[in-house]
């Protein structure tokens, strides 16, 4: 029996099974480190997904910009961040997309937990 992780709502542990499931997806996103990779994806998104052997569910989530589905399909947030960057989204945009908030609402949520900002 594999080691399992604690149940924490809204959290997927990126462990062996998820890394196995998401390998091709993460490898594609890893290629977004280079201009060539980013340009090739933009030129033909579906074909680029096929090149890395993405499953139909992964491909659909990429084409639909569904960040939560990408994680369920084995995407690591480190590589998904590169996909987000390619789309021109920052981590607050991504936070909003994952939590059903606008970017501004997500920023307000972060600020509501804040400390130590006197001039902000």
């Amino acid at each position: 029996m594999m080691t399992t992780h604690r149940e924490i709502p809204g959290t997927i542990f990126f462990d062996g099974p998820m890394a196995t499931k998401g390998y091709g997806l993460n490898k594609m996103c890893y290629s977004f480190n280079s201009t060539e990779g980013r340009d090739a994806f933009k030129a033909d998104e579906a074909a680029y997904c096929d090149k890395f052997g993405l499953t139909e569910a992964q491909k659909e989530a990429i084409l639909g910009r569904d960040i939560l589905a990408l994680q369920r399909e084995g995407g690591s947030i480190y590589y998904l961040a590169k996909f987000a960057g390619l789309l021109g989204l920052n981590m607050q945009d991504i936070g909003g997309l994952q939590t059903g908030r606008t970017t501004e609402e997500f920023q307000a949520y972060l600020e509501s937990q804040g400390r130590g900002k006197n001039n902000g």
Partner: protein
């Protein structure tokens, strides 16, 4: 013998590098964060350490899932930064170090740590942002850097207790090195944050402050957390505390804090800064 003269903890998030590139340090959002750094920069300038051991995690620049070390130690004369895909500007090459690095490699293996030993790795924002924020204008070439990379991405990842013990082994290795080098140790990343999932955005400032307190006086207490504990209490990327624990492990005697700053949120994180010295 070489000597660890101090330990520094700092955030390493890309947004810091981007803010510096855009000259935003004095804007309301960033002012309280950057206001914490001058005393640490001044200390570095006064002390003039020869070598910096930097504990960081790679976020998918050099170490993809195909070959991902649990612990990796750099032994190279130079390290390059490169495009990470989402727009942070690359920084000039980082000067490396090859004598103490190899000594640490030998001592770690001798003391039952078996890191991946790297003679050619690119270093990402986890290492470059701390250097940029400590040495504005990228004036860090005089400092010889020894990167120590800890897996904080894919489970299984090393336990907090193991990261602290790794630091202790490195601290002892430094002390057994024949030389008069002054060594500063950086623990980078943290503190509480979660980037992924419906739980994205969690910050736990109370826990962050407690971590900073205990890092000084009772680091063993922090080593009793599991990574799952840290995820639950401090968010999925709260496990970056492991780099702070490794730094603290390097400081072998009594430790006192000479400077601290904490600001949240900075991007999605609680951003802590500490300067610790022996004494």
């Amino acid at each position: 013998m070489a000597k660890v003269i101090g330990g520094i903890t700092t955030s390493h998030i890309p947004a810091i590098g981007i803010a510096m590139d855009r000259g935003l340090e004095d804007t309301p959002y960033w002012k309280d964060f950057f206001a914490g750094y001058p005393p640490v920069r001044e200390w570095l300038n006064e002390q003039q350490p020869d070598i910096a051991i930097v504990f960081y995690n790679d976020h998918g620049l050099e170490m993809f899932l195909d070959k991902k070390p649990t612990f990796a130690l750099g032994c190279a004369p130079q390290y390059e930064n490169a495009d990470e895909g989402w727009g942070i500007a690359t920084i000039p090459p980082v000067t490396g170090e090859t004598e103490l690095s190899w000594h640490i490699a030998n001592e770690l293996i001798e003391h039952d740590f078996d890191p991946t030993i790297c003679q050619d790795i690119k270093v990402d924002h986890g290492l470059t942002v701390p250097l940029s924020v400590m040495y504005p204008g990228h004036n860090y070439q005089h400092l010889k850097v020894i990167p120590v990379c800890i897996n904080c991405e894919r489970y299984p990842m090393p336990k907090p207790s193991r990261c602290f013990a790794l630091g202790q082994a490195i601290g002892k290795a430094v002390e057994s090195f024949a030389g008069d080098q002054k060594v500063v140790v950086f623990g980078t990343g943290g503190l509480s944050h979660q980037l992924d999932g419906e739980r994205a955005g969690i910050i736990n400032s109370d826990f962050d402050i407690e971590c900073m307190d205990k890092l000084v006086s009772d680091p063993e207490a922090l080593t009793r957390y599991s990574n799952d504990d840290l995820v639950e209490i401090a968010g999925a990327q709260g496990v970056e505390l492991n780099m702070w624990l490794a730094m603290r492990g390097c400081m072998l005697g009594d430790v006192k804090e000479v400077h601290r700053n904490y600001v949240a949120p900075i991007s999605n994180t609680g951003a802590g800064l500490q300067l610790l010295i022996n004494g």
